[in-house]
């Protein structure tokens, strides 16, 4: 073999070429593996499927341990449009029991970014929500045929009884703003809306779990990453026990049928709410399931505003139920004494001013004044309070008055554990200075507040709380619907006694007055009979208002000593307090204390169940 040195040099060209290409490859690998982080993230997205495991939401019980709200599985059909392939549309329609047109409309709706914000063909879009169990079973068998479709399980709330929608509340999907404010939430999560579902959301929702699954190229799950080392087990939400007595609640709701108004029953010793009715009411399960939106809209446009919780979100003139507070302030401030006689001349008459009264012309002490609900007495009582020599002037006296009212729970939110409470209104000096455009106003200018009219407003809850305060002779607990939370204590605020600024001994006179009202006073008017075996104390109210007929109010508690229940019943446009307020209020007390209605009161019960005041209201007209 001959050597050709020219050609032998070419081995370096060949070797150099290979070396050059290898070096280019190494540079490329360096870029892929070390410089660029993109591929590491893509690998994670490829292989790991992080799945949220939703904890069971806490269940809700009444005070006797009866289940009120529980969870039921429901199934959504979701679709990832990018992955839909070779879909037999007709077959899917048949399985779902819909027509082709419905299918196409729905698809169009999903793809329309105006109607379905945040649409993306890469993410799951809800095609149908809360499939029936039959649909689910049929679909489940055939799922393999529908690529891109998936069944997503979730739970919905179910209600044992059709009571207390305002207290229980309901759940809905979170809004984008809520997601922003709370890291806990992700899109299409549920959160409580209204009632305890909202106020105890943090307890009810539990702690989400997490599974990191390995997913292969075909989308099949190949088990847990690192055998589940990084998985998190979900923690179920805590169960709530409410202070509500479901049977009493149902009974109170039945009495309030066809009336517009509110009823609140409180256990005075604890501040626990036994029943709380806002009428008209609705079935809480209306706000569950596929039809939620439709029903919600119906309730929203209903002229009688069933969604409004009239127990805490509506403020009314309290009428004569306000009078005990005036007596208490007068006694505490030394403006009157239990023996003080104040005149009623068919009303409160001062100079040319006259505020009418239905009671006889006489002079009263506090007990009969309350029993007969004398306007003249309490007009003079307020005059004495405001002209009290203790204070420099009327303004100072009025501010003192206001402070007494606030200590009794008026004028500010009581702080019940339900969303939407409003504060009512108790004016102060500054308000009147502005309103009357002078610093030099006299008791006459504001005399109507002495009988719970004028600017004064209060929620039915505040009135019921006053009844509880009188029952307790001077203190109350913040009213609340929670009785117990599983594995933890109820919030501190509900375990602290709140004292009024009025001494216990003064309350005895008021209690005596309210007892007298129940024995032979205003409570016994209109043919009302005494509930059998119950030492009832009560106070009626007939609140004038700009919406037509007077509101019928009753506030009372029983028994007189060691009271078990305090009630406020407020019937809009019901007329005299004795007409609707007293019978409904006392029936609820009797039902709670005796468990049944005595024979001689069956008539009143029957009458209340059948009567209607809704025709007297002006809601329809306003609309």
């Amino acid at each position: 073999m001959q050597h050709n040195f020219e050609l032998e040099k070419r081995r370096f060209v060949i070797g150099g070429l290979v070396l050059l290409i290898f070096l280019i490859y190494i540079l490329r690998l360096f870029n892929l593996q070390i410089v660029d982080d993109k591929y590491k993230a893509m690998a994670r997205n490829n292989a790991f499927l992080t799945k949220t495991i939703y904890p069971a939401r806490g269940q809700i019980y009444d005070r006797n341990g009866n289940l009120l709200v529980y969870n039921q599985p429901a199934y959504d059909l979701v679709v990832t449009l990018r992955e839909v392939k070779d879909l037999d549309t007709l077959d899917l329609c048949n399985t779902l029991g819909i027509t082709r047109e419905v299918f196409e409309d729905r698809m169009k709706e999903i793809k329309d970014p105006r109607r379905n914000r945040g649409y993306s063909s890469y993410t799951q879009q809800t095609f149908a929500t809360q499939l029936s169990v039959e649909d689910y079973a049929r679909l489940q068998e055939r799922m393999y045929k529908y690529r891109g479709f998936e069944i997503r399980p979730r739970t919905i709330r179910q209600y044992m009884r059709t009571i207390a929608p305002h207290i229980l509340g309901n759940i809905r999907e979170v809004t984008p703003k809520e997601i922003q404010l709370d890291d806990y939430y992700q899109r299409s999560d549920y959160t409580g809306d209204l009632g305890v579902e909202k106020s105890y959301e943090k307890y009810l929702r539990g702690i989400k779990g997490k599974e990191i699954l390995l997913r292969d190229a075909h989308g099949r799950i190949k088990g847990h990453y690192e055998d589940g080392k990084y998985d998190v087990v979900p923690k179920a939400g805590r169960n709530l026990t409410l202070s509500i007595d479901a049977d009493l609640q149902a009974y109170a709701e039945s009495l309030m049928v066809n009336k517009v108004g509110a009823l609140v029953a409180i256990e005075p010793a604890t501040g626990e709410i036994l029943a709380m009715v806002s009428s008209p009411t609705f079935d809480p399960s209306m706000l569950v399931g596929r039809e939620r939106g439709k029903h919600y809209k119906e309730l929203l446009v209903d002229p009688y505003k069933p969604l409004l919780d009239r127990t805490i979100s509506a403020a009314y003139p309290p009428g004569s139920t306000f009078k005990p507070t005036q007596g208490l302030i007068g006694l505490e401030d030394g403006a009157i004494s239990p023996e003080t006689l104040l005149p009623c001349r068919g009303g409160f008459v001062m100079g040319r001013f006259r505020m009418g009264c239905h009671d006889g012309i006489a002079q009263w002490t506090i007990v009969p004044a309350i029993a007969g609900s004398c306007n003249g007495y309490f007009g003079w009582c307020l005059v004495n309070i405001l002209n009290n020599k203790k204070y420099k002037n009327i303004q100072e006296a009025f501010d003192a008055w206001k402070n007494y009212m606030v200590s009794m729970g008026y004028g500010y939110r009581l702080g019940i554990d339900l969303p939407g409470e409003i504060r009512g209104f108790i004016p102060n000096t500054a308000y009147y200075n502005k309103r009357l455009r002078t610093d030099d106003w006299s008791p006459i200018s504001i005399i109507s507040i002495s009988i719970g009219q004028g600017e004064i407003t209060a929620t039915p809850l505040q009135i019921a709380n006053l009844a509880a305060t009188i029952a307790n002779r001077g203190y109350f607990y913040t009213p609340h619907v929670i009785h117990a939370i599983q594995d933890t204590l109820i919030p501190d605020t509900f375990r602290i006694q709140r004292k009024t600024k009025i001494s216990t001994r003064h309350y005895e006179w008021i209690v005596k007055g309210m007892r007298a009202a129940a024995v032979n006073g205003t409570v016994r008017r209109s043919g009302n009979l005494d509930p059998e075996g119950i030492v009832l104390c009560g106070k009626t109210g007939t609140a004038q208002n700009p919406h037509g007929k007077d509101h019928s109010v009753f506030m009372g508690f029983a028994p007189m000593d060691q009271p078990k229940i305090a009630v406020c019943c407020f019937v809009e446009n019901g007329g005299f307090g004795a007409t609707f307020g007293v019978p409904i209020g006392t029936l609820v007390i009797e039902k709670y204390l005796n468990g049944k209605i005595s024979g001689r009161r069956k008539f009143a019960e029957e009458s209340m169940l059948r009567s209607s005041t809704i025709q007297n209201t002006d809601y329809k007209k306003k609309k």
Binding site: R11, V18, L19, I26, R28, L29, Q33, Y39, A43, A47
Partner: protein, 492 residues
Amino acid sequence: MNFLRSFDWLTLIVYVILVLTGWVTINAASYNFDGASIFDFGRPSGKQIVWFGLALFLIIVILCLDSRFYMTYAPLIYVGVMILLFVTIFIGTNINGSHSWIKIGTFSIQPAEFGKFSTALMLAYLFNGYNFKFTEPVNFVKACVIVLIPVMLIILQNETGSALVYFSLVLLFYRQGMSGIVLWAGFCFILIFVLGIKYSVEPLPEGVVLDPDESAPPSLKGQNLVLTIIPFLVAGMLAFFANNYGAAGLVALVAFFGFCIFGLLDHFVAWPFPFQYRWIGWIINFFTIGYCAFLYLLHKVRSYIIVGVFAVLFVGFLYTCDFAFSKLQPHQRGRIEVLLGMKEDLKGAGYNVNQAKIAIGSGGLLGKGYLEGTQTKLAYVPEQETDFIFCTVGEEQGFVGCVAVLLLYFILIARLISLAERQRTLFAQVYGYCVASIFAFHVIINVGMVIGLVPVIGIPLPFFSYGGSGLWSFTILLFIFLKLDATRIQKY
């Protein structure tokens, strides 16, 4: 004793390391988080042991046969294998349209793999002939025929990838005296093809994804760019092959100023008549070709006419490659379009390469550890035991592992080249270069494809990819050469 001393142990050691790491990697690539044993004969890694056992038997046979056996029977072996390849076209089992596999019982072999060593032997036989001069055109044609016969047969089996391997033998031809202009021209053709095709459509705006059957609006940029470049490529040829630096400089200068002046004018001046940039391209290329013809007439040196012919071919190629490109099969066209970045098709043609890049890219510096790779385990990478096995190395052993494997291959190829150079017979030298070229081609194309630098061509990574035919073919190829090398001292 003599044999053991003259045997090249270094190559053997590299071979053993490659086969063992390949075997271990096959186990990782087919592992499924189920704790299956590497020795499980139901799995690729278990079967690979069997193939390796049979390969050991082949090695012993190859080393025991006399060197003269190969030199004598090379034509017979070549003809035999060619007949086998021909027969395979008709009796081959149809796997995805390819007829390259013959089923014998439960086993399948791919005869195309054995075409490599037989062609190498035949070429060596041809070159070793008495008074053989490769520079004579008739001998060049003979060599080409020897190579093109298996290429044709394998293309007829619909295994285009395997057929391309034979073009690596151009390195051997270059070493044996073929003009370097051929390599340069090959490079130029690839450059013209890539630029001409890539810029024949408007570039896609960020984030726009085309459907597989959709194409971007056409553009003249590719044509203009290639017409601008060709004069400079021709200038390079004039300089290095015709050794006329003055002429080269003249062509380059004319082209540079021509394009600069007219390009700038075109950009900034509103022409009073319709003007297109490619017109000046045609004019300058016409000048270049005419200048080459003028030089030939002046000096009567053949290399000028060759340069001129190439210049014509370049321009002609520009206008035919669009046509040729449209004639490619859709999947092949798709691969090229994706590779050139003309299309992003992560679900279709781009899927394999994209997943391969994700797997390798996620490995980082040191990798995720043996049997810890998620992308390969979860079958995101297709063909991960065979053509895409390098992904497993990248994912589990990281950059360090990849570089180590590439280093091993470079040692092997460099060693083969240096062994080929020390041969005393042209037979052994030619055969050695064939082996080195074939290994280099396999490694470069396979790794390049996996890291997304070369179109997807389904050829295995030597000793790594799972499969008996491949392992045996590479083993036979290598050990015949080691036998020839070990007996280089013997006088015949």
